[in-house]
Each structure stands twice: as C-alpha cells, then as structure tokens.
C-alpha cells in the first residue's frame, strides 16, 4: 500500500507546488490588455488586408483603442458604427469608395501590335514601354492587380482589368500595384466617370483607340456645374461638384464618358453586341427622340407660315444693325462715307437668311428681264390683234405660246405672271433706298 501512496503523495505535492508557482508567476507578470482590443478585433473583418495602413486587423484594433483615428475600408458601416460606440467616438463621415479601372480600351476598340514575350507581369511589361497595346497609358492586362487583390474583386476581361464592385472593399492594394496608375478610388454613389488616362493628343489617341479621350473639351463646355476639368489632353471629373446630370455622357463624341449603375456597371458580351453602355445607350436614344420631336415641331411651324425663331432673331439683329448704322451716318458725316460698305455687308447677310415669310419671293433680275420681254411681246401681239382682224384669228395660239413660255420661266410664281412690273418696281425701289 505504501508503495502506492508515496509516489502519489510526491506527485500530488509536486503538482500543488508547481501550480502555486504558476499562480504566483501569473500574478507577478500579469500584463493588462485593454479588453476592448479583443472586442474591436472581433468586429473587424480579419482579412489583414492592410487597407487601413496598419500591419493587420489586430494592429488596427490596437491603434483604434489607443486613440488613433482611421477607417477600415472593408468593414460595413454597421460594424464601424458598433466600433465607434464601443470606443465612445463619433464615426468619421467618410463616403465609401470603390476602385475603378480608368481604361476601357477593350480588344475590340483599341489597337494592339507587337508580341510581348517577357515575364507575365504588368510591371515588367511597363518597363519595356509599349507592349502589345499600342496606347502607352492603357491597361496592360496581365493581371498584376488581380494578383494583388485579396478579395477576388478584379478580373481581366478582353485585355482590360475590371473591378467587380460587389467584391471590392476599397483596400487600395490594386491602386498600389498598377504600374500605370490606372486604378482610382471613386465615391461609391457616383455614376459618371471618364475611363481614360491618355495624355496623348487627340490625333494620336484616335489612331490607337476608338474610345480614348481626344481632348475635344465638349464635356467641359456642356457641364453646367463646372465639374469637369481639363488638363494635358485629358478630361477629369471632380466628384465634389458633379450633379450627375449626364450632359457630358450625351455630349462625348467618343462615347467614352460612361454611366454606371452598380448592378449594370460592367460591360458584358451582350452589351458589346448592342452598343456600349446600356444606360448611356438609353440616354442617347432619349436625346435623339427629343431632338427629332423638336425638329418636327420646327418644321410644322415653318409649314404654318411661322418663321424659325432663330432665323427671325438673326434677321431682327441685322435689321437693327442696319438701321443703327443709317441713323449714325445721318448724324456723323465721317461715318456716312463708310456707310455704303457697311450697308452692303448687312444687306448681304440679310439676303443670306432668305426672304422673310409672307414677303414676295425674291426675283432673279435676269429672269425678270426675260419675263418682261415676253410680256412686252404678248402685249404687242394683243395690240396688233386689235388693229388686224387677220392676226386676231391667230391670237389665241400666239397667246398660248407666250403664256407657256412665261409659265416655263416661273411656274411657282403666279403673282409674277399677273403683274411683274409692280414686283420689279418694288424690288428696285427697295434696293435704291
């Protein structure tokens, strides 16, 4: 029996002694860790992506608890609010962003030449310069950003990287990876963007890419809120000012400026067949319909005898100018010397606008002379017929001949046939004024 008790007692005593030592050591070397660090870390996604700028989620949690500011780009708003509540802080009001690739020169729309045979990495290809894509600013498409992304949010589609926004957590790894700095962060709610980074002149861009920015600045001109600025051959949107009116989308002659809707954001095979961007397409159709309707209305007004308001305004302006010049000439003899030239200029401009509606149509003086000659001959023939009964018999035939000639000269103008002299008189009278 004793043979059993001694070892048991020794072992039990040793156990007690050692546990006591452990207990004392734990008390002695106790390090206090703020329990909130663990709680915050629980709430963080645990992806250790480094998007916050810290080494990992634990380090970020420690920094937050230590009183530093910062946001986790991956966290949901709810989780961030929970963390803020836990730490008794106000949540910084930052607009969530999403990465976007600023090149959409797909294989179908950009030029490619050369055969790159180096290592399959965008950075290495960038060091060579122009690789298979001719544009020196566009996406190289070898997927260095895809490798950098820990969230499967980038894919290469038709030679161009594109973001899958549902997966993108805006950690910024791809932004760092891209050697051409093509990936930028855009506020999530924003719909309009200009996916081009080419600083080449329009001449060069139009040679190498079907959609690249050619620097025409139409978007800058149509933008009602000055949200597009133009620098070094490239237009860029200032998202603080953009009101998403889509004017630039419609104005862009290259169909470069795109609208995205998170669901419909990506260009798909189907879109490629139909055109480009479905939303932009719809906008263009809408604008085209509006334009057609306006044109129809204008035509209808013209047909009703009204005048195109634009032309009328121009005419009024020229007439005003002419009257002003004449009034000035009456007062200023020096100016009167120059008057004929000025008058001629205004008259020429008025003439270019065409006759005002309702006024007598303009008459070609050459035609008019011919008409008068024929009319004269007709009158002569009638006078002769009054004196000569023999001739009077042939008169209807002769009259018919002359009238046919008159009709041939001016089939549209019935008035001229009746009283050409009066019209001719008024015409010359006006010119003499």
């Amino acid at each position: 029996m004793i043979e059993v008790l001694i070892p048991a007692g020794v072992m039990g005593g040793l156990g007690l002694l050692l546990s006591l030592a452990l207990l004392l050591a734990a008390k002695k070397f106790y390090v206090y860790e703020d329990p909130r660090i663990g709680q915050v870390e629980e709430l963080l996604p645990g992806a250790n992506c480094g998007g916050c700028g810290k080494a990992g989620c634990k380090a970020f949690a420690e920094a937050l608890v230590a009183g530093e500011d910062g946001t986790c780009p991956v966290c949901s708003q709810d989780a961030m609010a929970e963390i803020a509540r836990l730490l008794g802080k106000q949540l910084a009001d930052a607009e969530p962003v999403v990465a976007h690739v600023m090149c959409e020169g797909l294989q179908s729309s950009a030029s490619f030449n050369g055969l790159y045979q180096g290592i399959n990495d965008c950075r290495a290809a960038h060091l060579v310069g122009q690789v298979d894509r001719v544009c020196s600013y566009g996406c190289i498409g070898m997927g260095t950003c895809v490798e950098a992304c820990a969230f499967d949010a980038i894919e290469i589609y038709n030679h161009v990287a594109r973001i899958i926004p549902e997966n993108c957590v805006a950690c910024g790894k791809c932004v760092e990876a891209c050697p051409r700095e093509l990936i930028v962060m855009i506020p999530k709610g924003r719909q309009v963007f200009i996916p081009c980074k080419s600083l080449d002149s329009g001449k060069v861009v139009s040679k190498v890419c079907e959609i690249g920015c050619i620097g025409c600045q139409k978007c800058v001109k149509v933008c009602p809120s000055d949200a597009i600025w133009f620098n070094d051959n490239l237009a860029e949107i200032n998202y603080e000012k953009c009101t998403q009116c889509y004017e630039c989308v419609v104005a862009c002659p290259r169909h470069l400026i795109k609208v995205r809707d998170l669901a419909e954001f990506m260009v798909t095979e189907e879109d490629l067949k139909q055109g480009f961007d479905t939303i932009a397409e719809a906008l263009w159709t809408e604008r085209a319909r509006e334009k057609a309707e306006a044109e129809k209305q204008r035509q209808a007004e013209l047909a009703a005898g009204g005048e195109d308001p634009e032309t009328a305004a121009k005419r009024a302006k020229f007439q005003q100018g002419l009257d002003d010049a004449r009034a000035k000439a009456a007062a200023d003899p020096e100016y009167a010397k120059k008057l004929p030239k000025i008058e001629a200029g205004f008259l020429k401009k008025l003439e270019e606008l065409g006759p005002p509606p309702g006024a007598a149509p303009a008459v070609d003086p050459e035609l008019e002379a011919k008409r008068q000659k024929i009319q004269q001959a007709l009158d002569d023939a009638r006078a002769k017929a009054e004196n000569d009964p023999e001739y009077a018999k042939r008169l209807p035939k002769i009259e018919a001949g002359f009238k046919a000639k008159l009709a041939a000269l001016d089939p549209a103008s019935k008035a001229a046939e009746h009283d050409p002299a009066e019209i001719a008189g008024s015409q010359t009278g006006e010119e003499a004024q």
Binding site: I119, A124, L127, G129, Y137
Partner: protein, 457 residues
C-alpha cells in the same frame, strides 16, 4: 596587367560577337529625314523645357529646349527647319514631351566628323569654362545611360578625382559604332580626353579598348603617342567590360562599393563618343545633335554604321539601310544584351541610341523556362557578386523588401544569358529594382505629406 589584357575579376561571360556583320572601317551620313521627333526627356533627370513655338524657323544647332534642372541637358536641333508640333513621344516606358521638326528642303545634312582636325588649345581655358561649354552643348553620356556629362564632372565636395577612364570597350555584341569612331577619328577622342582631364583636374587617363578591336587599338595608340598621361589600355574581350564599375576594376583595380558612384573611388568614366563630342563642343562650339548608330542584325539588308541626326525614326534608318531582307523577329534599341525591344518603328533615336538591331528569327532565342536546378551558374556569372536566383525568387513572391540587393544589379543580363534552365533572371531582378524604387518614392512622398500636415497643424 596580364598578357591577356586587363579585365574585371568577378563573373562575366563572352557571348558570340557578331561584330563582323557591321563593318566598322567606314560609315555613311544619313540624308535628311522627312521629320525629326526630338524627345525632350532623352537623358536621365528632369526633362528639358522647350524654348521654341510651333511654326518657328530653327537653324541647325539652335537650342530648342533648355535643361530643366541641374541633372538635365540642353537639346539642340540637328537640322535647319520649321517646328511643326509639340506632342508626346513614347520611348520605352518614358512618355516624353517632344519637338517635331520638319527639315527645310535646302537644309544641309548633319555635319560629319572632320578628318585631321586641329588639336585643342587648352592653355587659356579654365576647368569651369570647359564644364560650362559641355553643359551648354547638352552633352550626355553616349554609352546608353545618357547621364548628363557636366554632372559627372562636378563631384560633390570632399571628393578628389585622380583617374579618368574613357570607355571604348564596346562589349555589347553587334555594336561597332564606337570602334568605327575610334578608327576614323582618333584625334577627336584623344583631344576630348585631354579636355575632360583638364576639366576635372585629372592627370591620368586610360582609354579601355577590348582586344577584339585591334585596328582601333593600333590607331588610337599611334595617335596617343606624345600625349602625357593618356594610356591606351588593352582589355580582354569579356562581357560586361563596358559597364562603368567593371571597367574601373579592369583599369585601376578599384572596386566601387555597392550603392556608390565611381566618384567614391576617385574615378570618372566617359564614353569615347562623349569624348569626341567634348572636342567638338570646345573646338567648333558644336552641340550634341547627331551620333554614330550601328544598324545591324541578320534581318536588315545592308548593316552599317550611320551618322544620324537625333530624332530620326527607326523606319527612316531601316529604309536607308536597304530595308528588311527577311523576317524580323525583334527590333532592339541598343545592344542585344541590355537593349530594349520596341514594337513601334516610328520611335525616334536619341542621344543615347548606340545601335538598332533587326534580329532574324534564328537570332532570337526564346526557349521555355524550366525550373531552377540550383547549378549556381548565375551566381558565378554575376559581375556584381549577387545571387540572381534568390533575388528572382523573392521578386516572384513579391517579397521586395528582402531583395534590396537588386539595387546593385547593373542589368547586364549575364545571369539570364548563361542560365541552363532559361530562367528570366534579369527580368525579375529589374522588376524588383523598379518596385523598390517605387516603394522608396512613395515613402518619400508620404513623409513629405506628413511633414506638410504637421507644419500646417
């Protein structure tokens, strides 16, 4: 120095030379091209700033862009003509502003190098004056790196220079432009060397010529007789002898410490073409605006050396050399070891274009990449004493912070050339170098930003 000629101690290789393709005994002068696209960022450092406007008429040798900083160079037009436009031009990864010049119909072709030119009268010139003239003439290193020459001649305070090395090694296969220059115009090179010695206060100069250029060596030796302090140095043919650090080791046995410039061992290295340009700048006030370019490769009909105004397109040169005589697999700007392939034959030549190679398919070796067999040949071959296979592994795994050795790589390509598994060693190391530099730039930018913010608050 051994009887086999001076050389560096560590690594290196000897690729087939193919120099017989392009005869260095003579050269032709290119007739005026239809247009010149002169890049304003063709040297290391800040781009030059254009000083001409569109439709300006320019004379040959007129300044069209002035240096945009201390490490930058003036740029002059080689031909008389009219400025057509100022667009961007893409030279490799550099998107540079440029000035496009349409040569006038009556423009004289570029001036050739004079035969039997007079020696320089250096008695009345001070070092400062020589450096100023070099700066005004827009001289850059013509060996390939295009580092502004006046910067190389202005050592930081506390550094004393005692040796000048003129680099006539031309270790790259195919290229014979420097050989051609030394054979035909030794006086320009030697007189330029004298001026460079005076400008940096150096008494001793070596002109390193590899022993595969015996005529050049003979001509230069004969011409250098009686010139004090200048020694023509016969080097063993070995790649990369023409690299600055290797040539210093071959000539004076000094080793430049990692991450340091040749200044640190009291040496300045200049290319032979640069020396000739120095002579012309001093003797004729002629800026650097044209150079000898080797057009070679098995795909071009008439390989030859051509005196080319800078800004000439590759295509113009190709047409002048009789066009292609067969399939071309690769067009390389520079030599085959360190040159850069281009896919754009409208690319213009620059001050640093030493050669344009049109390589036929059988000259371009591109076998499948096999796994590393740990033979260590790249380690033995690396002239800088690096471990290329390890650097490549680190770069492939994105562990750039651990691959800082890559910054010492001179990108000579020996490792990739001798690898029995055809690993793309130098490619990955170059990538690592670039990535490390980018990381450094970003860290600097971040620090600046933080400092600015701290200053604000």
């Amino acid at each position: 120095m051994s009887g086999r000629g001076a050389t560096f101690r560590r690594g290196g290789t000897h690729p087939p030379e193919h120099k017989e393709l392009c005869d260095p005994s003579t050269y032709s002068v290119l007739p005026n091209p239809e247009q010149l696209v002169i890049a304003l960022s063709q040297h290391l450092g800040a781009p030059a700033k254009a000083v001409v406007k569109n439709r300006d008429e320019v004379k040959a040798g007129q300044l069209i862009a002035e240096a945009g900083g201390f490490v930058s160079a003036n740029i002059h037009t080689p031909l008389k003509g009219v400025v057509r436009s100022q667009d961007k031009v893409h030279i490799g990864p550099v998107n540079s502003p440029s000035v496009v010049i349409k040569p006038a119909d009556d423009a004289e072709p570029v001036v050739g190098y004079e035969h039997n030119p007079p020696p320089l009268d250096l008695a009345g010139l001070e070092a400062k004056q020589i450096i100023d003239k070099i700066k005004d003439a827009g001289l850059v290193g013509m060996g390939g790196a295009a580092f502004p020459t006046h910067v190389k001649l202005s050592p930081p305070p506390g550094v004393t220079l005692d040796v000048l090395i003129i680099n006539g090694a031309e270790c790259e296969p195919y290229l014979t432009a420097d050989d051609c220059l030394m054979r035909n115009h030794p006086v320009q090179v030697l007189e330029g060397t004298r001026a460079l010695m005076k400008s940096a206060g150096i008494e001793r100069a070596y002109i390193g010529i590899e022993d595969n250029k015996p005529q050049s060596f003979a001509v230069m030796s004969a011409a250098a007789e009686g010139l004090p302090g200048i020694e023509i140095l016969r080097c063993r043919t070995r790649y990369p002898q023409g690299s600055e650090k290797q040539l210093i080791e071959a000539a004076v046995g000094r080793r430049v410490p990692p991450g340091k410039l040749p200044f640190s061992v009291g040496v300045v290295v200049q290319n032979v073409a640069t020396a000739a340009a120095v002579y012309e700048a001093l003797q004729y006030d002629r800026p650097l605006m044209r150079r000898l370019v080797t057009v070679s490769g098995h795909a071009v009909a008439r390989p030859q050396n051509v005196l080319v105004p800078m800004g000439t397109s590759v295509k113009t040169l190709l047409d002048f050399c009789g066009g292609l005589k067969g399939d071309v697999a690769e067009v390389v700007m520079g030599g085959p070891m360190m040159g850069r392939a281009t896919s754009d034959i409208t690319e213009p030549t620059t001050k640093a274009t030493s050669g344009i190679l049109f390589l036929a398919p059988d000259e371009v070796r591109l076998p499948e990449e096999d796994p590393c067999i740990r033979c260590g040949r790249c380690v033995a071959g690396c002239p800088m004493g690096l471990v290329p296979t390890e650097l490549m592994g680190l770069a492939m795994r994105g562990r750039f912070e651990e691959a800082t050795d890559a910054l010492d790589c001179i990108e000579c390509g020996t490792c990739a050339y001798i690898c029995p598994s055809n690993r793309r060693l130098v490619h990955w190391i170059r990538l690592a170098k670039w990535e490390l530099n980018r990381m450094r730039r970003r860290a600097q930018a971040k620090q600046k930003q933080q400092e600015a913010e701290a200053a604000k608050s």
